[in-house]
Subunit: 291 residues, 3 copies
Amino acid sequence: QSSVTLYGVADLGLVKSNGISAQMTGNGTMNNGNSRLGVRGVEDLGGGLKASFNFEQGINAESGKTDANTFQRAAWLGLSGNFGSVRLGRSLTPSYYGMAAWELTGAANYSAAANQFGFVAAGSRNDSQFAYTTPNFGGFSATVGYIMKPDNGGNAKYDLNVIYANGPIAAALSYNKVKDFKGNASLGGSYDFGVAKIAASWQDGYKGGKGIAGEQKQSGFTIGGTVPVGAFSVTLDIARDTKAKDTDVVVEGKYALSKRTFAYAAYYKDGEKKLTTGAKNHLGLGIRHNF
Amino acid sequence: QSSVTLYGVADLGLVKSNGISAQMTGNGTMNNGNSRLGVRGVEDLGGGLKASFNFEQGINAESGKTDANTFQRAAWLGLSGNFGSVRLGRSLTPSYYGMAAWELTGAANYSAAANQFGFVAAGSRNDSQFAYTTPNFGGFSATVGYIMKPDNGGNAKYDLNVIYANGPIAAALSYNKVKDFKGNASLGGSYDFGVAKIAASWQDGYKGGKGIAGEQKQSGFTIGGTVPVGAFSVTLDIARDTKAKDTDVVVEGKYALSKRTFAYAAYYKDGEKKLTTGAKNHLGLGIRHNF
Amino acid sequence: QSSVTLYGVADLGLVKSNGISAQMTGNGTMNNGNSRLGVRGVEDLGGGLKASFNFEQGINAESGKTDANTFQRAAWLGLSGNFGSVRLGRSLTPSYYGMAAWELTGAANYSAAANQFGFVAAGSRNDSQFAYTTPNFGGFSATVGYIMKPDNGGNAKYDLNVIYANGPIAAALSYNKVKDFKGNASLGGSYDFGVAKIAASWQDGYKGGKGIAGEQKQSGFTIGGTVPVGAFSVTLDIARDTKAKDTDVVVEGKYALSKRTFAYAAYYKDGEKKLTTGAKNHLGLGIRHNF
């Protein structure tokens, strides 16, 4: 038995940043997400064992342009069974999945947590990654990622998370470390009260990696909440880098047109003090269609 | 409810231009169309509202090469309903749709109208385009396209058509204008007598845009006809630039192997007087398969 | 009637070459095959005539990178019927199909025959190829490929095979020649005894083409066998270049997890005497999933 699914996202909007004329935006900070086209599949190998794969390419829907490494969004092969799952190839990092477990905007392009702190001070994906995820034990699961030395510029990388997700609670510890550099960590959680969901996290790390030219210590927290009202929801999230005294704020409104399609409006305030390029305030308005 | 469709075109042929050895051709002037691979879908949002998207990449089937902006043929997201439809992203221009309404070869690569006058003195697609199409009123519909200033090199672009299509009649007015430059216009129509379909158009504009270095005034007309005989059809189309005293002629024969697959033969005569590169006479022979 | 199929391969492994640290491998010599994503289809045109096409892109699943000519693995359009079949575009060569008819590893990336002798001293694919394949006559079929002069750098190329495949026997003569250069040839065959399959070939040609700077005469043979034991199989293949006194050896073990998915381990010994770059011994371990 097997199945292959063609899926993707089309997301386009309008952005107005202070000092810059309004314009269309695809794959920008004020889009909910990047447009994409992917193929994924699962094969049942019997005995509880399954093979799965995913290839996914990003598309800037303003121009049709794809990324330099075309399928950089996902290119992996996995096996899963009672032992958990292993995944080889280009994939989202364990740190990403840790952050996504509690982050309020669904790791949107305009996520305050991700724009301020990265995905635990790193990018969202690793090339050449071996990842092992444990089975789910009463809500607990953990993933360990490893990139071998020759596949990471001569310096092995470790990336891991421990996630607890059970009913209204989600919490995750994320950690990543390139061998010769200092590690980066994040601890976050969310609680869904029904009338509102709140989330908070603590973040500590070095953007670009401690010891690398241009290293940037980041240390701080995020706090926010989402209030759903029928098909509508409003989110406020604040990401404060206490070291850099830099507070980023996002306010997001989403209106569900269906289970797969929604309109969104977002305001982003970048608190960066030494901002030399780019604007500090951004307003975005768009539509995202998942197919 | 939703649906995702994988579709495309495979088109390959043989071309012989005077002074040049015969060779295979993919995505050339003497192909009927460019090979392509696309994904499109529609989601019913309820209340008459629909979301739709289209991603389409071109493929030169001689080598498998794609375009620099991979999905440059189409990358858009749309909403449609009783109000008409809106479309955001990379898309065919309203001027293109206007011309395609009456053009006899189906806007083939060897279209005399398109090779002589462009798609109303412009390319066939716009990046970052907002487009609104009215509902159909007794055969009448209109589309307005708009590209914001920062998305068009600092100069907003307008692009529009008014199309009348009803039974044997099709007629369209097309117009496009980059803000600081002179506009381009075309008015064309066709009538299908059954035994033959005839089409004619008037064209006026500036290739490259009035005032831009290398601007080229173009002004003229097209006239032609198609005669179907069972699975076979023959088209003759003439495009005369009265300003440049340049007459292009295409003769096309098509033989339908099925509803989706046909063989074609075409002869193209380029009347360009100051032609410094390329040949004046081209013969093409090929097969196009739509899937 | 028509059908469009989305298919592909995900193949990732681990490689250890002597003198180089172990690392992940996608699309490397020690992978079974390159990861890929393709679309193919067939349309029944009636009267026994069929149209078919294939577009296939390679993906390095370590990074998601595709090839420079994206769909370089396949981009062709074909017609088939009682007369046989014709195929136009970018495609595997007749010489490739000839070698693949008897080669023991399924033309794996670590094929000793292919690494030592190429696909009859040439690459595995041609751009702009016209190919005609005869119907099958009692196990015999032949394919002639032709690339016109302007499509092959000013020098037409011929490529052909004659294949006999019937029950346990497979044998093929392959030949290719660029007009102004010396031709390359291969004759090989295999016999499947059930408990074991053996294969041998004779090879003669010039890598890069006789007369071209850096030409390299190659002349020799391959001999090997495969022993299947239930879901497991072991292959040993030896490729000896008698001119260069260079013997390459591959030992491959495969374990079928399903009809479409298998694990593999392979050892490759490169006998190249003047090897100035790269390692002589390689060990690979991986999983290949066909979807």
